[in-house]
């Protein structure tokens, strides 16, 4: 392949008469790609990838390019509003920022005074680089309750990796892995954290072997040397089957195991419970493929496991993460070039320090919702959503009286959506900060207009684990929209936290950078900063765990009362665990495959992105469709014991006929009533949020596999 060419910036400026170009850092997903923002007469005219950015090398995705359509969207909320009349009545009055923040501050102080700080729950969805500021505000307020997606997205990777090997192991694409095992991840479509799809794609073009673990035939699965089409939710058993081969054929790194692993013997005993035959029976993957994949991964060095959120939104969440870390370690792929790196950030006040977790009183941390039930999560400040809904509805173990939700739409994105709605209807006072009046925001008391990434300065990626910091530079201002961190900085001054915040949030950016002896103004002039890259650090200092070793056998999980070794649990609803239910709900439903253009519940109102994918689509094997009387393109009903949703049928032969695959987080911004069709196609109406359906340590809700029936919608 030829060396890639791209247009140069000067010619681009000349040809179109742009006034200026600003280098920045996109945040249409979980953050990550360097961008060029071309501006004319103060308006963003074009967005492109930054060729000098080490993450995306000039490429970008559809979401990044379409960012200006988000910023200038006619439906965007551009000033604070207060609800007039009943919830979901759709009546709002414009108020000033001072009125809004004074009202919120007064409510916060009164609620804290009457019911305790813990009765105020702060929240966000996927962190949108506002998480450190939100935690800082909550911790200084004294509430231990911050409701995030962290129980089942990325949070588990951080929590489990810290207790197992010290930090999140990231595939070192910059040093050409020779084998990549893509496990429950479709990083060419979705937003993998740290690195993006571009360096993965480049590694394959350079000849890296590819193993894909996915119940669906993705393009990556089709390109793979080996595709393991597992039964949804059986990842841990599959990993054990592969480990059985790796250990019994002695394909592991004996020197590493002898010196740097804690709990090898009990782990081997557990491994020996899963012969490849048994793993094949559980997972529906042919035994020979399990053996071949194990051999290919273990003998091709360096190798990386690119994992994704699909293995975390399961009852086996923490153990899936941990067993893959065990596999990385014993094959000698941890902290080696082209393997799985434990990168270090530059010397900064990191996300934990910024989050002011140490400022939260011990007695407040001790009453974190669900803290006694989900002890791994609680140790990382993470809570399970049902704990919050219960505290609102049943006032147990104590009442939650106020929600402050920032960039999150839980009616679409959390399990058992009808229960979520019930809680949001019942909460006494709710503030939402978002771009639009979403179905969740329609139930709020006050809604604040949030800024997009084009409208803010920030130290991009400072919370990530690839060691890079990338400046996000403000390009435009839109009406009264404010970034979440500017908003919180202002609000903090109104609730008595002023000594811990700054005159403007630029002071917060300076604080992040302070240990390096630079300010935001200095950093703004740089392309990026990266922490020192050093390999096999464990050889000098061990791993940053209690034993100093790779804790395959976790001393912390053991201390907290859990199985210290990874354990496979059959999905809570499945042909095997609930055979009676299976009679009535005869398909395994998988949810949440990723689509270009959308990010969870976002972007259905962005014209260029909605045009890529107009309707929610459920994939069904043609054999099964025929059995159910379903034609291609029909609207069909998906039903579980919790409820129903409608999506359009698409025939897809790349899946086991016993499995159907539905999309998540659909609502219809084009429907202008306050419901915006939130309950029409919302797959989380079907998912279960009971504690029995959650990872016992991490509290991750098992939303990725359940049982359903599927039938044509009435015309």
């Amino acid at each position: 392949m030829a060396e890639f060419k791209y247009s140069n910036i000067e010619k681009e400026m000349q040809a179109y008469g742009f006034d200026k170009v600003i280098k920045s850092h996109c945040r249409m997903c979980h953050g990550g790609c360097g961008t060029l923002i071309y501006i004319k007469n103060g308006v963003v005219k074009k967005i492109a990838g930054d060729p000098d950015c080490p993450i995306n090398h000039g490429t970008l995705c559809s979401k990044g390019i379409a960012s200006a359509q988000l910023a200038y969207h006619p439906d965007r909320l551009t000033y604070p509003v207060r609800r007039v009349g009943a919830k979901a009545g759709g009546k709002w009055e414009r108020i000033s920022w001072d009125e809004a923040l004074d009202a919120i501050a007064e409510r916060i102080l009164n609620t804290k005074d009457k019911f305790g700080a813990e009765s105020i729950v702060m929240g966000y969805g996927t962190g949108r680089e506002n998480e450190a500021a939100i935690y800082r505000f909550a911790n200084l307020l004294g509430t231990p309750n911050v409701l995030t997606a962290g129980h089942f997205c990325y949070g588990p990777r951080i929590a489990t990796s810290i207790i197992t090997c010290g930090t999140n192991p990231v595939v070192d694409y910059e040093n050409d892995p020779k084998c990549i095992m893509l496990w429950g991840n479709n990083l060419v479509i979705s937003n993998p954290d740290e690195y993006k799809g571009e360096p993965f794609s480049a590694s394959l073009s350079k000849g890296a072997k590819l193993i894909v673990i996915d119940p669906r035939l993705t393009r990556a699965a089709a390109r793979a040397d080996i595709w393991l089409q597992l039964r949804p939710g059986t990842d841990t058993a599959l990993a054990y089957g592969m480990l059985n081969v790796i250990v019994n054929e002695e394909l592991y790194d004996k020197e590493f195991v002898a010196n740097y692993v804690h709990g090898w013997e009990p782990f081997v005993r557990r491994i020996n419970e899963y012969s490849p035959e048994k793993a094949a029976r559980i997972t529906w993957v042919p035994k020979n493929k399990i053996i071949d994949a194990a051999r290919l991964y273990a003998t091709t060095k360096p190798a990386g496991i690119q994992w994704g959120v699909a293995i975390e939104q399961q009852i086996n969440c923490a153990d899936n993460d941990r067993i893959l870390m065990a596999m990385m370690g014993i094959t000698g792929n941890l902290d080696v070039p082209g393997g799985q790196m434990l990168f270090r950030p530059p010397k900064i006040n990191n996300v934990g320090t910024f989050g002011a977790h140490k400022m939260l009183a011990k007695e407040q941390a001790a009453i974190r919702l669900g803290g006694d039930r989900f002890r791994l999560a609680a140790n990382f400040g993470i809570i399970n959503p049902k704990c919050v809904w219960d505290a609102i509805i049943k006032e147990k173990p104590y009442a939650v009286k106020m929600l402050f939700l920032i960039s999150t739409n839980p009616m679409l994105t959390r399990a058992n959506a009808k229960k979520v709605r019930e809680a949001l209807e019942q909460i006494e006072f709710m503030v939402v900060s978002d771009f639009f009046l979403t179905p969740t925001a329609e139930l709020a008391d006050i809604v604040l207009p949030a800024a997009t990434w084009l409208e803010m300065d920030y130290v991009g990626d400072f919370w990530k684990r690839h060691g890079y910091l990338l400046p996000r530079r403000k390009a435009i201002e839109i009406a009264e929209c404010r970034s979440d961190h500017e908003m919180l900085n202002d609000l903090a001054h109104r609730v008595g936290q002023e000594e811990y915040w700054w005159d403007t949030f630029e002071g917060g950016l300076d604080y992040i950078l302070e240990p390096m002896g630079i300010t935001w103004q200095d950093f703004k002039k740089m392309d990026y900063i990266r922490g020192d890259v050093r390999y096999q650090k464990y050889k000098e200092k061990g791993f940053a765990t209690p034993t100093g070793k790779l804790e395959i056998y976790s001393t912390l999980l053991e201390k907290w009362g859990y199985d210290p070794l990874p354990q496979f649990r059959e999905p809570p609803e499945s042909p095997y665990s609930t055979p009676e239910l299976y009679n009535d709900y005869p398909y395994t439903l998988i949810t949440g495959r990723r689509l270009p253009g959308f990010f969870h519940s976002e972007n259905r109102q962005i014209p260029w992105l909605r045009e890529l994918h107009k309707d929610p689509v459920v994939e069904i094997h043609p054999q099964s469709a025929q059995k159910e009387g379903i034609h291609e393109g029909d609207w069909v009903i998906l039903e579980s014991p919790r409820g129903k949703a409608r999506q359009r049928a698409k025939f897809f032969e790349g899946m086991d006929p016993r499995v159907v695959s539905a999309e998540h987080a659909w609502w219809y911004p084009e429907k202008k009533d306050p419901d915006h069709g939130w309950d029409e196609s919302n797959i989380n109406i079907l998912t279960d949020n009971s504690f029995a359906n959650c990872d016992p340590a991490m509290g991750s809700t098992h939303v990725r596999t359940l049982l359903c029936k599927i039938y044509p919608a009435k015309k």
Binding site: M1, A2, F4, K5, Y6, S7, K11, E12, Q14, A15, K46, I47, A48, G49, P51, N56, H57, G58, T59, L60, C61, S62, I65, A66, V188, I189, K196, G197, E198, S201, A202, S205, L217, T218, R219, A220, A221, A222, R223, W227, P596, G597, P607, W608, L609, E611, L612, F652, E653, G654
Partner: protein, 160 residues
Amino acid sequence: MTIHEIYIDDQECWGCKTCEVACKQEMNAPEGVKLIVVSEDGPKIVGGAPDFTYRINMCQHCNEPPCADACPEEAIAKRSDGIVVMDYELCSGCRACIEVCPYDAIDFDDDKSIARKCNLCHHRVDRGLIPACADNVCLAHCIHFDDSNEKKKRDNMLAS
């Protein structure tokens, strides 16, 4: 003489559709009009193995473009550098070009009642820029724009 050429490696395409949106950003084509389209091919069984690929379709800038012959307004012409350009000012909206295109690469713009197709961003190319879809936009690096003579030289080098 420079002969421009766009070449697409479908095998490398991941279906991210960034090219579609890059094209929208550049050309601002209305909803429903796509000058470049990524579509799914499969899943199907090829040689006993499951296969699933994406195909990228756009104007092929034919050597003897049937659309140019079919157009009664002479709105379509092949330039000496290989680019087949449709002049929207001249288009009367008769759809003759849409009917004869063997690649189904011409769309109809209902808003303006004219045909639309990829003009290979000739307005960019003439200023020394690369067409929007090929300007290092997608993660697969699967759409390349080049001088065909340069490409031939390089291919020969690779072959030898």
